[in-house]
Symmetry: D2
Subunit: 153 residues, 4 copies
């Protein structure tokens, strides 16, 4: 039943604009992302990393949603995170994402998670650092090659 | 890429055993389900209700996973919940589920969420009550009839 | 350990500006908010409602985070939702929030969840409607009166 | 408002029984833990690891909830995960947890996540491996020493 509301897909020329190699995205912390210690639960950072890397892709004019409709699925094979300072409810964090390496079959990203607003005041407080390795699979879940366009220069 | 690890499906005779009309399931509260007030966040109850109604189904010998592989998708059309008393981290809650009504196109469940263990001691503290209405859709997301077997007596 | 990074709180004059009675907020759908049907899981709408009502509050210059530091906790006592049309990954939804009623001890909100961007194109597709009733509790979890400032005109 | 339903805490002799150095816990995959690829989203594994290590603790007769009431908070400082094979909705996974190292200020765990039931049939399919490093903080969020009892032999 996947994507049942989207019937026709106009293919875009994914080669036109390569995704940038770095970028940043802001996210305001949700109440439900915080735990009884009054800080963001460590699992709640993981979706922010995903937002960081998909927003990189979006800047090239091709969303990850579009990639999936073309049969390109990116799966997380490896994830590393260091949590340095707590993030609080209502903070605004900036996810700073960089492509560290890309090969025929995988792409590695690095992330910095920085608190840039707390209590309504601007700040710059590094909270966490992370990296992920994505592999590419097809509709049947078989490992496949990354589109050349994604591999970067 | 849905269900890519499950290639062949042996159809079961879903008519053999009707799902029971009521039942209960226990869930231990996860740390990440609790919020800065030190209690379970209201959104975290919603997956418990889903566990309650799918466990009812499972007792008939047919899992919801199997229904989906047969092309039967149940979607939540309506959800009502009353939150009466807080549930704490590490509590064990019992979800008591009952089929309230079932027609050709929808099925209604009622739920009681009761804390049955707190701090290692048995208790019986009603925490929330809820109800849902599910509709049935096919692989393309079109509303369709519930399998007769699901509609109950 | 709540709020351990915030030691001193400068009290604000919460009476200065009343929160508006209606407003709207946009949220882009996260991949992890979608389920195997390829649509947003019904539980994932609930945090969006919370964002809607806390953003209303923020417009008055007082965040919910600040209210909690003053010892005012708002808890969800009642939640009703109708899910009308699926929301997809990468959609932008607008949460349109309105205060329906406010008394000495509770405040009711109504919400419309509308898809306003899909596949990069603007649209206006109502997806869900919901309402919540919040009660006010103090640091010890005892039901207390809402700050007069919150009760509206 | 933390723990507002628990007023008095009877201190237990935490030295009586050391937590075991390894153990396992079973979790059935929830529908909302799965994503549009039809498999468990990588962020949903993280709470399972937390269940694994808190269940280890519980076997000693002292729950993590109790530790927090005594003012001992364990925070995740480091997390590494390798995702090898997809986990599906309704699978039963076993989280196999082992204390790898413990010092005066931190404790390291290793985890294996293994699918042990799929489609109602027993299996043994390693899906992921992970490790975490926890640090200990007090009520004010200051790094402090781990209780000796937790450090192991």
């Amino acid at each position: 039943m996947k994507g049942h509301a989207e019937k026709s897909v106009v293919p875009v020329d994914v080669g036109a604009v390569r995704p940038p190699l770095s970028g940043s995205t802001r996210v305001r912390v949700r109440y439900c992302e915080c735990d009884p210690m009054g800080v963001v639960h460590h699992a709640a950072y993981i979706p922010w990393l995903e937002i960081g890397r998909t927003d990189l892709l979006r800047e090239s004019g091709v969303s990850y949603a579009h990639l999936e409709r073309m049969g390109v699925f990116l799966v997380v094979a490896k994830l590393d995170a260091r949590f340095r300072r707590p993030v609080l409810y209502d903070d605004v964090v900036e996810v700073r994402t960089r492509v560290r390496a890309a090969s025929r079959v995988k792409i590695e990203h690095e992330y910095g998670v920085v608190v840039v607003e707390r209590g309504g005041k601007a700040c710059e407080e590094p909270a966490a650092a992370a990296s992920t390795t994505l592999a590419c699979v097809d509709r049947e879940g078989r490992v496949s090659e990354l589109p050349e366009w994604l591999r970067g220069p």
